[in-house]
Structure formats: C-alpha cells, structure tokens
C-alpha cells in the first residue's frame, strides 16, 4: 500500500496535522494503534456512561475578538467554527498552600489583585515579571533555562515562586521541580493570562468533529493499526511496517508518538535512557447530586500542596499525596450537562517502577489500585469537603494504565524531558509533532500538529 502522507498517532496533534495535510493534499493516512482516537485525551464507557480520560479543563481560552490568540488561530487553520465547539469558561481556580491561597480566573486582573492582597511586598516584582513574560519569544530556539532561577530573580518570596509554579508544572512539566522557561512562558499565557474552558459536549464530541473534518477533506483514519517500525534509507523515510506485517510506503511521515517512542521505531536507541520521566495517577469519582451540598460550587480546579516546600518529582512511594490537582468538571459557567453527572477527579505524582513491579502479581496490583483509589478520596476531602458517602462509581488510572492506552513510555503523560521544538530529528521527510515537540495541552498539541505540518511540509510542496 502507498500513501503520500502518513501520520502516526490519532491523538489531538496527529488529527490536527492530518486535517491540515488533507485540506490541501490527497492520500493522507492516519495510523492509530488503539480502537479509538484521542491518545491521552480520549474516553471510555463504564457503568453505562461515558468517562473522559485526561481532560480536566482546556487552557488557552480566548474571546472571538482575539483574532491572533492560539485558540482562534487553530480554529481558522482547521476550519472549525466556534459554534461547533461551544465554550464554557471556568468559574475560578485556586492554588492552595498551607499558609495561603491564590485565586485565578479567565480575568488575569484577578490573579494580579490576589498577589497584591496576599503578597503586597511582591506586587511590583510580579508586574515586572509579567512584563518580562509579555516580551519573551518562547518560539525562538534557545537553550534550556530554569524557570525557578528566572522567577527567583524577580520574586523574593519562595512561597510565591512555588505557588506560581504548581499549576504550571502539573499541567505540563516533564522536568522534576522545574520547567524550561520557554515552556513556562507558553503555559503562563495559556493558563493564567488566557484561562480555562470546557467544550459544550464531551471530548468524544470534539474528537468526532476532528475525525469528521479529516473525512470531509478525504483523509483516511485506520484504527487498531500499530506501527512496528519505520523504514528508512539513510536520512530518508521510505515508509512504515505495520504490526500486521503490511508495508505502507510514503513520501512524508509525521510522528506524534513521542521522541524516544519514534526513535525506537527507527531502530535507534532512546535519546537519553537515564531521563526520569514523570508519571501520575488519576482518580475519577462519580458522585450523586447530594454531594453538591458539600462540594465547592465555585472552583473549577484546585492545585494544592500540603507543604510550603512544593516538590514536583518522582516519589519513592507508589503515589505521593503531598500535592496534586483536584478537578471539579461541573464547575464551568452555564454548563448544564455537567450537573447531571458530577465528577471529582484527582491527579497525583506516582512512581512508575513501583506500579510496574506490583503488576507482576495481578492480585497485588488490583489491591494497590483500590487502596490508592480510596486514599485519594480521603486525602482531598479535607480540601474540598466530604464526598465519600456519595460515590456512585470510581475508577483509578495508574501509570501502567496510561502506558497501555496511550503508548507513552513510563506512563509519562508529558513525555520526554527533552523537547524538539523545531520537530526535526535528523531525517529529510520525518517531522515530530505533539508532546515532545514541546507544545502542551489540547490546544497546544493541536497547534503543534498544525505548525509542524505548515513549516516542514505544506510550505515546501
């Protein structure tokens, strides 16, 4: 079989890349190993209802008038109208530390005011930092810079540095205790200056919309089709061999499965096998409506640390509850559907190796899963109020669950600590897009697919 363009991975970056290719070209083929698209942001059915994976909230909210905001740029590039998505903005989110907390919403002024109230001595420093971030160009090639070092050069209070870092690290750092400053700038804009929203429907509706666009432009999606290896000749990609043994020849290849994952398909070694890859556990609690009496009605996400010295690193225990994210996906503005099925979701740092070892004995693994599922509930109840009596159904994703369903080695949802911002990994006709290209979140990963295809393929045809 032959295709002009092959995209490996039917996640958000792969689908966006494929739509761009198919809009102007024939013979575009997307290969997705699983029976469902979405990658990290997908869905499954349990207990007679649909559960989303990954999606807490989408960053990069922008009004229609902000023509050059990443969200609107992306929608124009994919020819999606805003009405097809339906936007529900967050109510407010909170960064909660032992001594103090900061609220933020889609009005950046609110965070500035909070810092003025809670850290009066830092207010001017924070303004200077914001100006510095506004002037930064995160898309210019630059060496890794520690965000902690940059923030500490503006802010004297270590607590404020930790508090500003907490949501950013949880929503997109593949480094321990820090993040590359380029990525921090992108995240600061998308999380604090732009803000959070949810689409009117579920992630399934968004994925259906993308697959519909792909089909409309004549692209083909093959589900349940894993790639065994990429066939190369020197610096040229010839095609791919599928797990079924079938060969597909292609002129251009876009890989969205990650840097090391791609290198292994090329028969090369991992870029740096000693890299520590951060993995997480996620709990989902479906609760009945009565839980609304005790759960907060005005918090969309809560990023907490129980210790002032916030650590974002691989714990030496299966799960560390010292910090985490609590997502309350029913708390978005005017979101009617959210009230029918109320969920509490929590995310915590985990140790992949310990879960991997436990899985050698399936009874032990299942036991560990249920213990930690319950533990997550009792750990966050002091923060958001009791809800354990109202749980109708619960589920728990370990790093192994993530690895099994997304193919991310080590269950590392944010991929490798090494990012390839220009998408080239040494081949003429192979482009890397998605997680390890360096854009983050749902909007970021789609923009990554779009911009890599624009830069390396469409403008060269």
């Amino acid at each position: 079989m032959q295709a002009s363009f092959v995209v490996i991975g039917g996640g958000l970056s792969g689908l966006a890349a494929a739509i761009r290719l198919a809009r102007y070209n024939e013979n575009v083929l997307v290969l997705e190993r699983h029976s469902r698209v979405g990658g990290l942001n997908s869905y499954y059915y349990r207990n007679n209802r649909l559960f989303e994976t990954g999606l807490h909230a989408i960053t990069n909210y922008a009004d229609k008038a902000a023509k050059h905001a990443p969200l609107n740029k992306l929608l124009r590039q994919l020819k999606i109208s805003r009405d097809e998505i339906g936007f529900h903005q967050q109510i407010s989110s909170e960064i909660k530390f032992p001594e103090t907390s900061l609220l933020f919403s889609n009005e950046f002024d609110e965070l500035q005011q909070q810092i003025k109230d809670k850290f009066p001595a830092e207010s001017d420093n924070f303004q200077r930092l914001v100006r510095y971030i506004d002037e930064a160009d995160p898309f210019r090639e630059q060496e890794y810079r520690s965000t902690r070092t940059v923030l500490s050069s503006f802010l004297d209070d270590r607590l404020l540095v930790n508090m500003l870092l907490c949501p950013v690290l949880y929503y997109g750092s593949s480094w321990e205790n820090d993040i590359d400053f380029k990525q921090f700038v992108i995240m600061f804009r998308s999380l604090y200056q732009e803000g959070l929203f949810r689409p009117a429907g579920t992630i399934k509706n968004l994925l259906d919309l993308l697959v519909g666009k792909l089909n409309h432009y004549g692209g083909t999606l093959k589900l349940g089709t894993g790639v065994r290896n990429i066939i190369s000749q020197g610096e040229k990609i010839i095609g791919v061999t599928l797990e079924s043994g079938e060969k597909i020849l292609c002129k251009h290849l876009v890989s969205t499965i990650g840097l090391d994952e791609t290198r292994l398909l090329l028969g090369r070694k991992k870029d740096n096998p000693d890299d520590r890859r951060l993995s997480f556990v996620e709990s989902i609690f479906q609760v009945d409506r009565q839980a609304l009496n005790t759960l907060p009605g005005d918090r969309t996400c809560i990023f907490y640390s129980k210790k002032e010295d916030f650590r974002f690193e691989q714990p030496e225990i299966p799960v560390c509850y010292d910090s985490g994210v609590i997502s309350l996906p029913f708390n978005f503005q005017d979101l009617q559907s959210g009230k029918d099925s109320i969920e509490v979701r929590t995310t915590h740092l985990a140790n992949y190796q310990q879960w991997f070892k436990a899985a050698e004995d399936s009874t032990k693994y299942d036991e560990m899963k249920s213990t930690h599922g319950l533990r997550a509930c009792t750990e966050v109840e002091p923060i958001i109020g009791g809800f354990s009596d109202h749980i109708v159904f619960s589920d728990f994703f370990t790093p192994l669950t993530v690895e099994r369903f997304t193919g991310k080695h080590g269950g590392a949802i944010y991929g490798s600590p090494r990012k390839v911002s220009d998408g080239s990994i040494g081949y003429d006709n192979l482009v890397l897009a998605g997680t390890d290209q360096g854009f983050l979140g749902i909007i970021g990963s789609m923009l990554s697919g779009v911009s890599m295809v624009n830069k390396h393929i469409l403008s060269k045809l």
Binding site: K67, S451, N454
Partner: protein
C-alpha cells in the same frame, strides 16, 4: 483570467479564511497582512488555496511578491493567463 478576475480570486480566498474580512477600504498597494490583520498561518493558506484551485506552485522565496493585492496580481497574471 483578467487582472480583475485575479483580484476577485484573491479576495474570495481571503474571505474563505476569515469571513469577517473587510475589503471596503483596502489599498491595493499596501500589504494585505497589515490591512486585513492576517498572520503567517493565514498567509500560507492563501498560497495553499492557489495551489489547490489552480495547481500553482509558488516557491517560498516568492511569497514576498504576494504582499499587496497589486503585487499579487502582477505575480499571478502570467501564471493564470490560460486559466
């Protein structure tokens, strides 16, 4: 295609990219990007649409020649003579 046909074609493509684009006060000798608030991604789509609709291969180094409505027309006139 006449010069006027080419101008209409360009504006039609831009309207397809941004349905709120306003052409009433467009100066044909001033950059389209500034006047219509287009970014480089939008601009690429103009080139891609020309390629798709009229099989035109416009190399990247020629993109600057598409800057204004008049320069676009000058550049495309010989290429679309037979179209």
């Amino acid at each position: 295609m006449t010069r006027n046909d080419i101008k209409d074609l360009i504006l039609e493509i831009i309207e397809d990219i941004d349905d709120e684009a306003e052409f009433d006060n467009l100066d044909p000798d001033q950059p389209l990007r500034d006047q219509l608030d287009l970014d480089s991604m939008d601009f690429l789509d103009i080139v891609m649409e020309l390629r798709k609709r009229h099989k035109l291969q416009i190399p990247e180094e020629d993109y600057p020649q598409l800057a204004t409505l008049n320069s676009c027309t000058n550049y495309l006139e010989p290429l679309l003579k037979e179209a």
